[in-house]
Each structure stands twice: as structure tokens, then as C-alpha cells.
């Protein structure tokens, strides 16, 4: 085990290359660019031995990965914001075809106005594509989750593409120490890719052919079942990782100081890491509060939400807004609790456009709820205060 001190993007590139994909196809976009650059460096040093395809757009990047995956190759790509949106059609293709393409998405604002900072609206907009979605809160978690995602997506009970999301700049361009196992240990953890099906000249089949309504519905149901299977496999794979490498980031939800909590704060991504500082401070003041950081937004951990809702009132911070509705995590948390718990749930929109959300901000939000001053749903610090 070595320690690598590097940015989220370089760490993701390292993890991707250690998974030994046969094909990586990617197009650079800020703030993902240094990830692609990191992989190019491993092509130059010979550490990456697969095919590296420099395509002319993200739509092509995802298409190339789909073609390669359909031919039985392990595949990886990475993107951000508008790049992810350009892939949208092919994201559905990858998932419906049950191809485990693994992709990092660096959460960045969608324009206009032009802005390159952290915001989750890009990936939230892809929630119905059938992809599994992780949200990471540290570089170590990015490294570990990328490798675990290959195992999860390629598992015969899952067979789905996986998107590993992390915040622009806050993680993508910030250096942290990360433990990197030996290649042999990774090889032991991650066996070679056995596709659920593949294009094979010796066993010819057609892919993406026309199917009638009744069959189509079964395809959708099978994807839903695969997401249910992932709910069990995410913690299983995380535990296997912990036994091998000693690190654990929680499974679907990471709980922090939830014992005896009467309020539980919820968030995804880097805000989840910042929240730990806020929780420590609030606990030091004697407030009974804990943190449940949601790692998988798809599959959505509804059963976990119910457990949390039976224990405490919930405070949800969303770095995204489903315009015309509410924050996505807030909305889905309440949907999970409906008829199952009478917990009060408060939603806050914070940190859009890459606006900083400091532990002080998080403490302010929590105190507003605890002091009975919060509305059901509100925007935090809209005036820049």
C-alpha cells in the first residue's frame, strides 16, 4: 500500500487504470480535463495498456464505450456538466442494453450563465437513465468507489453502468493523501470482465433490435430488479473492500454520530464531508444531531430513509434544484417516508453555482431548524449572507 498525494481527478485516473479497462474513450471538459490528462499520462508511461480513444464529442465517447462494452470489453470514461448532457441519449442506451460502462462525472453547473463550479444539477438531470449513481465526499472515496463500481456494475445480478459523481474543484482539483493498493491486490479484488452478453462473430446476435410493448416492459422491470440487487451488493462489495484494504465509506448511506440523534442532517457529495465538522461542533454544544450522507442516489436508499425517519427529524441540504419542484434529495426522502414515518423533513437549497457551503453555513441551517425557525423548504443565503 502506497500513499499518493493528488487531486480527485488524478486519483480517479489512477483507480480507472488499475481496473485495467480494455477501452477508455473520453473527451476533455473543465473540470474533468485533468482526469483525461491523467489517463493520457498512463498511456505515455505504458501503465495503461488498453485502447485509448480520443473522440470528438461526449456523445461519441459514450457511443464508443457502448460499442466496446457490447463487444465484451471493460470500459471507462469521464465527463462533466454539458458533456454529460450531450451523452444523455447514449446514457439510456448503455443502461437499457445492460452494459456496465463505468464513468466519473465531475459535478459542475449547467449554463447559462457560464460557470465551471460545483453543482449537482448535471447528474440529477440523468437520474432516470437507469445508471447507478454514487456521490463521493473525499479523494479516497473516489479512488475506492471507482474500483468498487467496476465490480458492482459488472456483477451478473446488476449489469448496469455506474456514474461516480464528485464536486468540481472542491474534490476534482484539491490534493489529498490517498492510499493506493498494489496492482496485484486490485487484481485479486476485481476479476476480469465476464459480459452478460456480447457481440461475437461466432455466435451472431442483433443488438438494439425492435421489440414489442410486452417485451419492452420486461426490459424495464429487469433494470429495476438490477437496482434492487445493487442495494444489497453495494454494502457487500464495500465490506469486502474493507476486509481487504481496511477502509469503509458507508454503504448506501454513511451515518456519522447518529446514535441518539433527534435531528439528522442529510446531504450528498462534498457538503457531506463539510457537515461532519458542523456535526462535531453542534454535538459539542450539546445538540442531539447526526449526519446521514447519501452515497447512492440511484438506487435510492428508501429503506434507509425510513429507518432515519423513524428515529429523527430530517434536515436535507441539496446542491441542486428540480425547477418547479424542490431539491432532489429532499423530494425523494419525503416520498420514501410517506405513510411510513411522521418525521418532519426540512429542505434547503444551498451551494448552487459553486457557492461555498462552509461548516458555519451548515450549522446555521441546522440551528434554524432546531430553533423552530425554518420553513418546510427554503433557499439558504440567497442574498449572499
Amino acid at each position: 500500500m502506497k500513499v499518493m498525494i493528488d487531486t480527485g481527478n488524478y486519483v480517479a485516473a489512477k483507480a480507472a487504470v488499475m481496473a485495467k479497462p480494455d477501452v477508455i474513450a473520453a473527451y476533455p471538459i473543465t473540470p474533468q480535463t485533468t482526469l483525461v490528462e491523467g489517463i493520457a499520462r498512463y498511456v505515455a508511461t505504458g501503465e495503461f495498456k488498453g485502447e485509448y480513444i480520443c473522440v470528438e464529442s461526449e456523445h461519441s465517447a459514450m457511443s464508443a464505450c457502448i460499442g466496446a462494452s457490447a463487444a465484451g470489453s471493460r470500459t471507462f470514461t469521464a465527463t462533466s456538466s454539458h458533456g454529460l448532457l450531450l451523452m444523455h441519449e447514449m446514457l439510456h442506451w448503455a443502461a437499457l442494453a445492460r452494459l456496465p460502462v463505468i464513468m466519473c462525472n465531475i459535478n459542475r453547473v449547467v449554463g447559462p450563465g457560464w460557470n465551471i463550479w460545483a453543482d449537482q444539477n448535471d447528474s440529477i438531470a440523468q437520474r432516470d437513465t437507469g445508471w447507478i449513481q454514487f456521490y463521493c465526499s473525499s479523494n479516497q472515496e473516489i479512488f475506492d468507489t471507482v474500483l468498487q463500481s467496476f465490480k458492482l456494475g459488472e456483477h451478473k445480478k446488476v449489469g448496469l453502468p455506474v456514474m461516480i459523481n464528485y464536486d468540481a474543484f472542491v474534490l476534482s482539483h484539491t490534493s489529498m493523501p490517498v492510499y493506493v493498493p498494489e496492482q496485484k491486490e486490485v487484481d485479486d479484488f476485481l476479476p476480469s470482465f465476464k459480459p452478460l452478453w456480447k457481440l461475437d462473430v461466432d455466435n451472431p446476435i442483433t443488438f438494439g433490435n425492435i421489440i414489442g410493448p410486452a417485451y419492452y416492459e420486461k426490459v424495464r422491470k429487469a433494470m429495476q430488479d438490477a437496482h434492487e440487487a445493487a442495494k444489497t451488493l453495494v454494502p457487500e462489495i464495500a465490506k469486502e473492500w474493507k476486509n481487504k484494504f481496511g477502509r469503509y465509506h458507508g454503504d448506501l448511506v454513511e451515518r456519522y454520530k447518529c446514535e441518539g440523534a433527534e435531528y439528522i442532517l442529510m446531504a450528498m457529495g462534498a457538503i457531506g464531508a463539510e457537515s461532519k465538522v458542523a456535526i462535531d461542533n453542534l454535538r459539542a454544544e450539546g445538540l442531539k444531531i447526526g449526519l446521514a450522507r447519501v452515497r447512492t442516489f440511484r438506487p435510492f436508499p428508501a429503506e434507509e430513509m425510513i429507518k432515519l425517519g423513524k428515529q429523527a427529524d430530517l434536515i436535507v441540504i441539496d446542491r441542486n434544484i428540480s425547477i418547479g419542484s424542490e431539491g432532489a434529495l429532499f423530494n425523494e426522502t419525503k416520498a420514501s417516508l410517506y405513510n411510513k414515518s411522521d418525521a418532519k423533513v426540512h429542505g434547503f437549497i444551498a451551494g448552487l453555482g459553486g457557492k461555498d457551503v462552509t461548516y458555519q453555513d451548515i450549522q446555521n441551517i441546522c440551528k434554524k431548524v432546531i430553533n423552530g425557525k425554518a420553513k418546510d423548504f427554503e433557499w439558504y443565503g440567497l442574498e449572499g449572507d
Binding site: R98, L196, I205, T206, F207, I210, K218, V219
Partner: protein
């Protein structure tokens, strides 16, 4: 043939995997065997592969699967195939 245990949109080679596609036809290619000079242009160009070549070099059209695109009538230099509207009903 190798079968895969996965529910997605893949299909295996099989005659008429989509059923009797001939029922989709609006125009029907009508073959005049007396005019036909057995050049096999239609056999080459039929996108559905539903024109069969007989041992004696003559051809036949499999109307169960012919979709009536008219390509055969178009490539036939001696006008041995003409397209006729399918009978109503």
C-alpha cells in the same frame, strides 16, 4: 447457438424473428416469369433476402416476409417485376 441469460434488446438469428412481416406490405411485387431473364439483380438487391433462387436459375418471392419496398421492381431491367397495390381489406 449460445443463448444469454439477460433481459435486454438482443435477438438471435431466426427466420421471421418479427413474425409475418409480409402483412406490413402496401404494394406487392408481381413477378412475370416469362419476362424474367434470370439475371438475379433483384436477388442481390432485395434488402430482406426474401427472393429465393431456384436450382433452374428461376426466382421466387416469399410473400410471407416481403415488405413491398419495390427495390426489386426498380432494379429489374426487363420490367419482369411490377408493383401492384395490395387488394383492399
Amino acid at each position: 447457438m449460445k443463448k444469454y441469460d439477460v433481459v435486454t434488446s438482443i435477438s438471435y438469428p431466426k427466420k421471421g424473428a418479427m413474425g409475418k412481416t409480409g402483412s406490413w406490405r402496401v404494394f406487392k411485387p408481381k413477378l412475370d416469369k416469362n419476362k424474367c431473364v434470370k439475371c438475379l439483380q433483384c436477388w442481390v438487391f432485395c434488402p430482406e433476402g426474401v427472393i429465393t433462387k431456384n436450382k433452374d436459375g428461376t426466382i421466387d418471392i416469399d410473400y410471407e416476409y416481403c415488405k413491398g419496398c419495390g427495390v426489386c421492381a426498380n432494379v429489374c431491367k426487363v420490367k419482369a417485376i411490377i408493383m401492384e397495390r395490395e387488394a383492399e381489406g
